[in-house]
Amino acid sequence: MSRDKEDPMGSGIPGFDWMKIQKEYWEPMTKAWLEASSGFFKPQTSPQKNGQETNRLMRSLQVAFSTGFALFSGMSKSGFMDVFTKKQIGLPEIWMKMVMSGLEGLFDIQKQWIEKAGRIGSTVKAYEFESLDKNFIKVWETLYDKEFRKFFQIPQLGLGRFYQERINETLDAFSKFQSGMGEFLRLLLLPFEKTLQVIQEELQQKAAEGTLPDNADEYYRLWIKILEGHFMTLFKSPEYAETMAGALSSFEDFISARDRVLRDLLQTLPIPSHKDLDELSREIYLLKKRVSVLEKKVK
């Protein structure tokens, strides 16, 4: 069978040949299978105009292929391929832009790590937490806000749009919660880092004075005392209070978003959700208050 003879309009269209091969393979295969299985069950049939009965599956297959060929025929009209090709040339640019922005962010994080590693061992002032370094979690957070978050905010379409939006909100809230908690934990680890550095200086001083302890317990007491002091200083810093509030806030956002998705899932089960119970509790609470007021009036 020559391609030109079959459908001269479709030649040169990407995918046309594939569609033709599929048709040539699946149509006789389905026919053969139906004939073979006709002994076991009676297929659903409907009379056609010419009086012959055609199988429903065969009909669906024929309709699908006809639609496919019609689509390819439309694509073969003059000028379509030019437009298509131009758009295709533009696509790699879009992909490159997306990949580059992600890579730039990752380079930033790497740069921060290297800078941070370079500072290890440098002298630190004891009991000071002002102007803390911006760390990789913050860089990631900025990158996430700028580049990735918008994917979760793409408007959804169709019947399930609200459900999908709530799932996206939960994923977004989870990412924010992770970075919020990461930042909070990083702050909590800082006193340990600083304590190690300060204790080194203290030991140097004690060594110079010849008063180094020869008992492990004394080293522990010294360490825990310095650590406690560092924690106290950190906890009083405005940055800690803000980070803690931020971590809590992102946790609460995540819990609320997660609950909304769970509520959607619970709708399919014959059990009440927290929202249902809360509404009921509120009504009972208000009713009890009214009864109490009326009871006092009666007395």
Partner: protein
């Protein structure tokens, strides 16, 4: 940076020397942990004489002739449990009160569930507390009772006394925050930053475990590391282990706090400091501290990191009463009730202070009559460790 020369060899030789001691200690500790330990808390017998929703009113069985004519109602905070006042025999505020001849009642706020999320401060103060006070007055046939509040329960007691001054004969506040405009305590700093509306919307009730985690974070070096190092060092000491476990049981027994009450407490107290400025509205009424005209004893801890002295000491200057006294003890928030030193100071002070103001209280026979009637209904609860754990 030059490295200090730590005498590692000396340290190691000392460690080797103590290895044998450590081995014996570990053996003793493992034997001890496998044997039965007395770690029960709140063992003093009591009757539940009143119940409403989740709350219960405990009445402790007297152990001596009542020395005071007016009974004392103790109101604990909604955070953690009132069992702290009765941690162990010999270190129990409850037992000390009973031995001093005080007729003692205590509110057990119970464990709020999700349905309690809408309960406000008004419901606790003008609802539960007022019903309990009315009940005790009726039982004893008296027009007034003595009221003692602890921490947040103290703040509730201050509000109650301002709104119902005619029902309170003497007011005692212990480690009670009334002024929230201070940066001395970490709670005061942190609470100003949190978005409590969002928090309550997310959690409904404030989870007790989350609150506890917050308290641990106030001093992680001591509360999460050193405390347990201390435990390891004393694991072979039965008395130490028993007391340590009792304290652990109490400290991590944290009911959730009803959402609306928590929201109001953070917003109206920590963030807007309305109480001390006489601007707080509870149940549609303004809480005027000037209405507190009964005698007031205000006790707090010098080293309290949760409710620092700055949060407590203004109260006596703001109330309408002319009979006020401040007492600052050299201890912390919990030490006031559990340290051996304060055990010797706190209860004798309160008992003496109440005795001096109890002379003209009427004691009617009606009390005994009512008690006999009530005793038919009430059940005696000998609280055991297993019952505590069941909850």
């Amino acid at each position: 940076m030059e490295r200090p020369k730590i005498s590692v060899d000396l340290i190691l030789s000392k460690l080797a020397e103590s290895a044998e001691t450590a081995r014996i200690k570990a053996k003793k500790a493992s034997d001890l942990l496998f044997e039965s330990l007395d770690t029960g808390i709140a063992g003093t017998p009591y009757d539940v004489v009143y119940e409403e929703d989740r709350i219960r009113l405990k009445h402790y069985a007297p152990v001596s002739e009542n020395q005071l004519k007016t009974p004392l109602l103790v109101v604990y905070a909604l955070i953690n449990r009132e069992t702290m006042l009765d941690l162990q025999p010999g270190r129990s505020v409850v037992q000390n009160f009973l031995q001093s001849g005080i007729d003692l009642y205590m509110i057990d706020w119970g464990y709020p569930t999700r349905k309690d999320r809408f309960l406000s401060i008004d419901d606790h103060v003008n609802g539960y507390m007022d019903h309990v006070v009315e009940f005790i007055m009726k039982q004893h046939g008296i027009p007034q009772i003595n009221l003692m509040g602890i921490c947040m329960g103290g703040t509730f007691s201050v509000i109650y006394s301002a709104l119902h001054p005619e029902k309170i004969k003497n007011l005692i506040t212990t480690v009670t925050p009334s002024n929230f405009d201070t940066n001395q305590g970490l709670l005061h700093i942190w609470m100003k930053k949190i978005d409590v509306e969002k928090m309550v919307n997310a959690f409904a009730n404030m989870p007790g475990d989350l609150l506890n985690f917050g308290f641990l974070l106030m001093n992680p070096a001591r509360l999460m590391i050193d405390k347990y190092v201390g435990f390891m060092e004393n694991m072979d000491n039965k008395e130490f282990v028993e007391n340590f476990i009792r304290m652990e049981k109490w400290i991590f027994d944290s009911p959730d706090v009803p959402g609306e009450t928590f929201r109001q407490f953070i917003k109206d107290f920590y963030q807007n400091n309305l109480l001390i400025r006489n601007k707080l509205i509870v149940g549609g009424k303004r809480v005027d501290l000037g209405a507190i005209t009964m005698p007031l004893l205000n006790i707090y801890g010098k080293f309290d990191h949760l409710v620092p002295p700055e949060a407590c000491e203004q109260l006596t200057r703001c109330v309408g009463s002319k009979d006020t006294e401040d007492l600052c003890l050299d201890t912390g928030h919990i030490g006031i009730y559990v340290s051996s030193k304060c055990q010797r100071e706190l209860v004798p002070k309160i008992t003496g202070w109440l005795s001096a103001r109890d002379s003209n209280a009427p004691l009617k026979k009606k009390r005994d009559k009512n008690r006999a009637k009530a005793s038919e209904k009430k059940k005696t609860i000998r609280q055991t460790e297993s019952k505590e754990n069941d909850r």
